[in-house]
Symmetry: D2
Subunit: 389 residues, 4 copies
């Protein structure tokens, strides 16, 4: 189908194959009347049946075809691309999401470890899909699958060659504070059986069409279980994560002259540079010097940048929850903010996202449930004891 | 859980975890108002969301547990046992059916051939689950898996050791008219590559909890495909099926003296027995003689019994469709009635179900779709040319 | 090929495809001359090459065919059947044994656990091949594969559906002294994780054509390893074995009036029966009474029978080694005689082999190597401390 | 073990663990005497037993260890490195070769197709082991595993991750005359189902320790079978092979002024260059001009070069067989020389081996056996009709 035909097909599905409003009205009237009576349960079932759309039966029929499930995932990716300009596709998007949520229920997903012994065609997909720290070559990939690393992915039985989401893990002796050593192909191998700490340093979703179908939280839960079963020496589980919108926010504060720091916070930087302790100095140092090559500047920047990042994580919100999407993901899964690492990613991408700042979100298995509750009820950002002080 | 606790748990799920009637009313009002406007699509999605029950989320959480899917299937089996005496369980039954229909979508089912090389633990389940012609021993089973037989089952990836439905097939040179040779362990082997005809002689559902989740029609479709791929010499696909409620109906007609036959129909029987050509003679011969041991009586009974069976299939209805459940199944899947076989199952069970009558339902691959349409629209019972005459 | 043609083919292989005596003589002369000189190594290789027969190349060519290896194993079984009456087949038998010994080198064998989940076609072979305690039915087999049992077999990669040798193991709390409870299908299940003891109660070779190719000793070694890895609670490894030729020997002693017992040994039996304490009394009691149904006779027979069995195991020889073939096998593998169990197998077969006597041969992992050395050097029959006294 | 220790271990094995010359002498005397008598067969077996060395039993014991087989293959590679300087290792080399020949019998080898879905760790080994046309990158490798290519390898069940020998095949519409298009990653894909011709363009042995154990001939036989089964449209099977020692020989002829050409053969070249038609002109053109960039020179060189290559293949011998090792391999396997391709490999390696000349050896399935016989008996180099003329 040409793009135009695809769009016509999608709009047809959305507009012409909805449920029958009259049948719905009738079922609803019966339901409303039945509430509290012994008939309520049957009326509820009938109402539920009435809102089922012919559209949804058509989607089910695709699933019978050999590659039907992948087709539907890709169809939703197409819908998502067009939805802003074609509002009626919204109902199709929601039906697809409902159906895919049911079909990609975590109970059906298979956790598989990926190693250098996995099929090359599968490994090639990791190279394509990696969304956090680009895989530059097959050697880079081999390093990430070495004996002191782990990589896990979820698969669906009907799409056995397509990883849905995958996580890369480094096995270390302490919580990593810097990404470059983890990506350094020439770094010496660690002994995995001596490792105490698992660092989740990259998590990538691969299927645009599964947006809104939660996979990540279950992946981390199952991977932590798998790692503990495999390597009983592991006791600490933490991410080393980007702060993808920190710089965006910070640059806005520079522009609005609204940096939440005072001169004391900037004293060390002023001393190192011989300039006045102002936000403008901070901005200038960050943007116009090669601070990442000067240990004295790195040191002088650490205090104010950590303060700003903590402020950003705890005070800057989208609704009741943090503005930062990665923070929302990990805090929502029950992690706490363990440490803020200055100059932790000095790549171009790291600089563009967060001036090089990274975060460790730590999963304490015994505290996860309580954290999920505190976060989801009150939007509380839980900090490690040292950070909260 | 004790049976009482299980019942309490089920009733709790049914009664306390329904959707919120007020939220539904509000969503319905908005939807009703939006019909025809550009807001309709979003309102439809919101209404659909409003009827989702907390109950259904609880069911999904079970699916995350290792044997959660099997637990839910078994839960529904329990619900079905109690539903007649506990009407409020109906809503739970429907939710479970909806959910299981989605999770057991045919797209997720795996067709596997079962052979004598399959695990003994699996084969033992065939012995347990066989519902049509009892498997009497491992030798009986081995005969049904021999080189001139085929056996296929659907499996779900989350219940890999549990066949959901299975069919037994004999490869023959013509449409079988009698079940005993197929069950005879000492019958000589046929050459499968010379076979022209596949006889489906037993289909068994195994999971009570999947009642109403259609599996059988897809199974036959996929098995016919698999057989054609494997053995290109096969051109004829037919069942050899019981008529499970034929005797029930016939005995009622005897009791009401309403047998749709006249004296001419019974002339041969009268001659063979030297008695008067009356329905009473027919009843007496069927019920009080050892006719199955007397070729002359078998021959004399054939005419009237075939006439009665054709009448039963074409005229005796449940709603618009045939009264006989096996007929409903095969005709609904697009088969036609090919032949009525008198004295085709002279076992005790065959006698109790249908005085030994059996039916061939034939699947003509090129006519299936048209047949499904004719049957489902007008309830038409399609007969082979010879029978219709 | 007809039997006659097969025999002709075998005799042809044996007689016409030997090495060239002249070439051998020349190579031997060169070798004999070279001993001690730098040419010795090359001369040795040439001599070895000269004795290779065209026959052996023909055997290798069979191995290239799809079922060639099984063909050769079966060919050797045929040769063994005919060898007594056709002496020239001896050379073919030896060549086949050499070749099969190389191809069935233990390094190529695969140890597989057999369970109720194994293919029925494989399990059926266990029923056929079981040589020690007949498997009477599929239920009997299922009992032997239950959760408190283990069954292991060796397979060759080229004969993947054919077990070469298999052992049946019961997991217990102590060394079993009686076979009937192990074969009792209604006996309650033990908890395998609580087991301390593994009882090897049946070992069967399946391929006549592999006679002389040792498989059993490696099987036990590998199975003990596998069991220890799987169930760390296991510390005791013992057989419960028949004494297959004990009665043969004992009846000969009766006939020759050479029973190595005196009146004291028989005093209890004399008391229980009220007869004189003579070997004749022993013989009569064993052969003409239903002693197995009378606890007093069982008790009175125990002393003399254990004494006789110990004498039989330690004093009755074939060459330097015990006369009993099962004793030779286990003692040669490094076991010791742990206990002699009177009235341990009261089946007809047990009575015919040994009047019901059985033996525990125990494998103490730390003593196996030393035991093998003591046995193979001096033919020493190692007894457990209690027995030796 | 250090290199010195390894050498000492090998020399110990070679020198101290030979058979007993006296026992051999005795067995040989008995054998010599028995020839023609009924005792001959037993005497032959005894003599064969006598020449078995303790050395060989030690080698078998290594095979019981988990990676024992790979250890022995690597041990032989070490022996081969040292054998020229340590003559006594010869006997160990021969024993290892005998044993490995038996254990790597073609009957035990498993042919596997290698694709882009094979484990990356395995594909990496192809990159390492490729010995004919270097694999420059993962993209180069992917091109060689694309849908219009095939790659097959032999594996041993005990070394499942180690390809022993592999062949790369291109599926084409005609016999390829030039290697560069086959190695060109940007060349368009062919439709494999339309292919008529399979071109074997690279065969690599991977294990030095298996020298003298023939694998290549069986590999080609099995691959041709597999290809015919898979793609019935294939009718032509040919190699595109290097002539690895052609330049070596040709340069020797230049040096000795013994080029078997006359002025007529060189007339076209003389005309194209304006120089005299002499062997010196040929040598100069080949070695000092950029002829591969000048179509006129390529054309003018073709006649004399093809003549020389045919002469080289048919007249230049090592013993009774061709001097060229690749020619010996394919002609010995039953191929014929199909075509000589001038300027077929203009890489540096191709230039150094053969001034760019390549050969198609063609396997005509129906003529293979006859060709093998003609070649192995009389050393006949079979040429395609066009070439022979």
């Amino acid at each position: 189908m040409s793009p135009t035909e695809r769009l016509q097909f999608m709009e047809l599905l959305a507009r012409e194959f909805g449920p029958d409003p009259k049948a719905i009205a009738k079922a609803h009237a019966a339901y409303a009347k039945s509430v509290g009576s012994p008939d309520q349960w049957e009326a509820e079932s009938r109402l539920r049946q009435a809102v089922v759309s012919p559209r949804s039966k058509i989607l089910r029929q695709f699933n019978e075809l050999p590659d039907g499930l992948k087709f539907l995932v890709d169809l939703r990716a197409d819908v998502l691309k067009l939805i802003d300009s074609h509002r009626s596709l919204g109902v199709l998007d929601r039906e697809l999401q409902n159906r895919l949520t049911s079909w990609f229920d975590v109970g059906f997903l298979e956790l598989r470890r990926i190693t250098w012994d996995s099929p090359a065609a599968l490994l090639e997909k990791l190279i394509d899909y990696e969304a956090v720290h680009q895989i530059r070559s097959w050697n880079d990939l081999k390093n990430r699958l070495d004996s002191d690393r782990r990589c896990y992915a979820f698969f669906h039985p009907r799409m056995p060659r397509e990883p849905l989401i995958f996580v890369e893990v480094a096995l270390t002796g302490e919580i990593s504070r810097n990404i470059q050593p983890l990506l350094d192909e020439s770094a010496p191998l660690e002994d995995p059986t001596a490792a105490t700490t698992a660092i989740f340093y990259s998590i990538s979703n691969t299927q645009v069409g599964l947006r809104g179908v939660s996979l990540g939280n279950f992946l981390l839960k199952r991977v932590i279980e798998a790692l503990r079963g495999d390597l009983p020496g592991l006791g600490t589980f933490s991410t080393l994560s980007p702060l993808p919108t920190f710089r965006l926010w910070l640059d806005q504060q520079f522009a609005r002259d609204a940096i939440p720091l005072d001169a004391d916070d900037l004293a060390a930087l002023a001393e190192a540079t011989g300039a006045a302790a102002t936000p403008a100095l901070l901005q200038q140092t960050l943007q116009r010097t090669r601070w990442s090559e000067r240990p004295d500047l790195i040191a002088a920047l650490e205090g104010p940048m950590v303060t700003l990042a903590r402020h950003y994580l705890t005070e800057v919100k989208q609704g009741r929850f943090p503005f930062d999407p990665v923070a929302r993901f990990h805090l929502g899964n029950g992690a706490r903010v363990e440490r803020l690492n200055w100059a932790a990613d000095i790549s171009v991408k790291g600089f563009n996202q967060s001036y090089g700042m990274m975060v460790n979100y730590r999963y304490l298995p015994e505290a996860i449930e309580e954290n999920v509750d505190r976060y989801s009820e009150g939007g509380e950002v839980i900090l490690a004891p040292g950070l909260a002080a």
